[in-house]
């Protein structure tokens, strides 16, 4: 089988990683994979990407969607996930949508509904589920090694990405919506549970003067399994930091503790050419596993590992965090 994939928009930089992964799978896999083309409302960016990944550039999303694709990867601005999903769902049987699923719960529900109407499978891109250290933690938790879970202390730090990520209308928020969804998705997946209450402190222009949007967030939450925890979603890594950020998880239970620093398999590189220390990741690339999983889903006809509903529930916690910060009190979930 030859799996034909298209890509809608390179607004989110993960698109470049996903395209590189598609190429890697095409080179290595027995299942044929073809990156049929790229459509982007920024034609310069789209054409450059098409040339970089040796594929076609399409001037309109509609024309790309007419290419009898098996799947489409949407890496547009958060607020444009819904219109592009509504355009793609009737024409393409499989959609991989970048996180967060959308900027409002109404948009997220509309995306889930339109995919259900057309029998299109919708997967949300939460690559951290595929990180081997995170998967090992999941296995330890599944075995019940820690006994009753008391708390989970987490961070998903990053650099301030700029561009549309700091535009309220396109991104739906700043650091909190950008980063909380990854870890919230992991917690829901670890214990097949939900967040029942969120309290949040949100900082606007706290680490980046005049940014005009939230760049720091600290969520304190309760889980339905009876545990509590915190999540630091801040864009608190400066340009001089040796890597993009982190995903750190500390699970404390009645029998012990597991500490995960998911991307801490690095060489330390100090090069006068960049003038700063850098970490070179030698661990396994979770993006590659995410894209392989999407291709396998198409090839085998199975259901998505990460659903639109998973995307919606993670978004709901981020939105609840903003609401809590506005009100200065804990917010109960579901909203």
């Amino acid at each position: 089988m030859n799996v034909k994939i298209g890509m809608l928009s390179y607004a989110h930089m993960h698109a470049y990683s996903y395209a590189a992964c598609l190429k890697q799978i095409a080179d290595a896999s027995s299942v044929g994979v073809e990156l049929v083309g790229i459509a982007d409302d920024n034609p310069v960016r789209g054409q450059e990407a098409a040339s970089q990944f040796d594929t076609r550039f399409f001037l309109s999303a509609e024309t790309l969607l007419e290419q009898k694709l098996d799947g489409i990867i949407i890496c547009a601005e958060n607020a444009r996930h819904r219109p592009l999903t509504e355009m793609a769902a009737p024409r393409t049987p499989h959609i991989l949508c970048e996180k967060p699923i959308a900027t409002t719960l109404a948009d997220a529900q509309a995306m889930i509904d339109v995919c259900a109407t057309h029998g299109t499978k919708l997967q949300i891109a939460f690559p951290v589920r595929f990180s081997p250290p995170v998967q090992q933690l999941k296995a330890i938790l599944d075995e019940g090694t820690l006994g009753r879970i008391y708390s989970v202390k987490t961070t998903n730090h990053g650099r301030m990405p700029g561009g549309w990520f700091v535009d309220q209308a396109l991104a739906g928020g700043g650091a909190v919506i950008d980063h909380s969804v990854h870890v919230i998705d992991l917690l829901r997946w670890f214990w097949n549970t939900e967040i029942t209450e969120v309290y949040a402190e949100v900082g606007h222009s706290l680490l980046h003067p005049d940014l005009g949007i939230d760049d720091a967030g600290l969520l304190s939450f309760k889980l339905a399994i009876g545990a509590y925890g915190t999540l630091d979603t801040s864009w608190s890594r400066p340009e001089s930091y040796p890597t993009w950020g982190d995903v750190r998880l500390e699970v404390l239970g009645e029998r012990g503790i597991v500490r995960v620093d998911a991307f801490n398999q690095n060489l330390a590189l100090y090069s006068d050419q960049t003038g700063k220390g850098q970490w070179v990741h030698w661990g396994s690339n979770p993006d590659l596993s995410l894209i392989q999983d999407f291709v396998d889903m198409i090839a085998t006809g199975r259901e998505p590992f990460i659903t639109g509903y998973d995307g919606l529930k993670a978004l709901e916690v981020a939105l609840a965090a903003y609401r809590s910060a506005e009100r200065g009190e804990p917010v109960s979930l579901p909203l």
């Binding site: 330890i140 995960v260 060489l267 090069s271 396994s284």
Partner: protein, 347 residues
């Protein structure tokens, strides 16, 4: 689908078997001079128990030689004579003369010979080579490596299951000690990074009469002027095996230490579990596709299909043996050994 047979069902043989099971080959079975070991491997990985090397050879397309070092030569020569492609565990041989004989036999028979210098397939090391090749370090100048742990025959390993199977490691005549068994990985990696070695000077415990401990501090000068330091140890106290390297150029430095904080650490409160309470247990997991033994065997198969050269040439395997032996010679005579002169002296 190619049929693969394994000679030598010890540690490496079973590690390879587990990876062959994940690759598009048929693992036909095992031959071992200790039949119980082959029987155990068959129980675990399937395939047949073979009574002789010839029987195994007759049933395979690829021979994977995982026997102890002094027993690489004979099965490789037999496989070449039978026209089979070959994976040979490192070191290629105990002595350069044997290695040359094996390479010549494979060439004459037109079969492919892959020397399993697996460190080149560890992602830490392959990424380091990629960074070096990217030019981010500038002109290479210095490489330092560490590889070591407790002796394979020191307490508490003595008396454990498999002790007798490991006994050959402690016999210098058979294994070549820590230099030929352990440091050869880093000598090969250093050659991969910096090119051929001009001279080697080394000090160590190899002839100090402190068996089963062995240890070496190796000084290298490369033909391009760069300097190398390689430490190999079977003399550390019991504990975690350690690998470490740094590569310095005129514009940068690259560092790795296997004892750096791991991406996953578990500490358990009680002794309800088999592990001691309060002792951190570090883990550094990878996707199965990034496992170095999987990568090296997948690379071998891909090169058979494509006809491409192996990342480790038979000559690289020979050079690693020669450099290891020159290192041992330097310890013995207390003087630097020049590789070209040393090679001539072997002829």
């Amino acid at each position: 689908m190619r049929r693969v047979g394994i000679v030598g069902a010890g540690l490496i043989g079973t590690w390879h078997a587990a990876r062959w099971k994940q690759l598009p080959v048929e693992l036909v079975g095992f031959y071992d001079i200790v039949p119980e070991m082959a029987t155990e491997a068959v129980a675990k990985f399937g395939g047949r128990l073979f009574d002789s090397l010839d029987d195994l050879l007759a049933a395979v397309d690829v021979m994977d030689v995982c026997s102890p070092t002094p027993h690489h030569n004979m099965p490789v020569l037999a496989a070449a004579a039978a026209g089979k492609d070959i994976v040979c565990e490192k070191p290629l041989a105990r002595r350069p003369g044997e290695a040359k004989e094996m390479i010549a036999a494979c060439q004459a028979a037109g079969v492919r010979l892959f020397v399993a210098q697996v460190v080149r397939f560890f992602r830490q090391f392959s990424q380091a080579k990629a960074v070096l090749d990217s030019g981010a370090l500038g002109r290479p100048g210095f490489i330092r490596t560490v590889r070591g742990g407790a002796s394979p025959l020191s307490p508490p390993l003595v008396g454990t299951k498999g002790e007798s199977r490991r006994a050959w490691f402690a016999d210098f005549e058979q294994s070549g000690g820590v230099i030929m068994d352990v440091s050869i990985h880093d000598l090969d990696f250093a050659r991969w990074c910096f090119g051929d070695v001009e001279r080697v000077f080394a000090r160590g415990l190899t002839f100090a009469g402190v068996e089963p401990y062995d240890h070496a501090l190796i000084t290298l000068r490369f033909k391009n002027g760069a300097i190398g330091h390689v430490e190999g140890s079977w003399a550390y106290p019991p504990g975690r095996f350690r690998t470490r390297f740094e590569i310095a150029g005129d514009q940068g430095l690259l560092e790795f230490d296997s004892l750096a904080p791991a991406p996953l650490t578990m500490i358990l409160r009680s002794d309800e579990s088999p592990q001691a309470p309060g002792i951190p247990r570090p883990h550094s997991p990878l996707s199965p596709r990034d496992d170095p033994y999987f990568l090296e065997l997948a690379h071998f198969l891909n090169c058979l299909e494509s006809g491409d050269a192996f990342l480790v040439s038979p000559q690289d395997g020979l050079e690693a043996v020669t450099l290891s032996l020159a290192t041992i010679e330097s310890i013995r005579i207390g003087r630097p050994v020049y590789l070209e002169e040393f090679e001539e002296s072997l002829v």
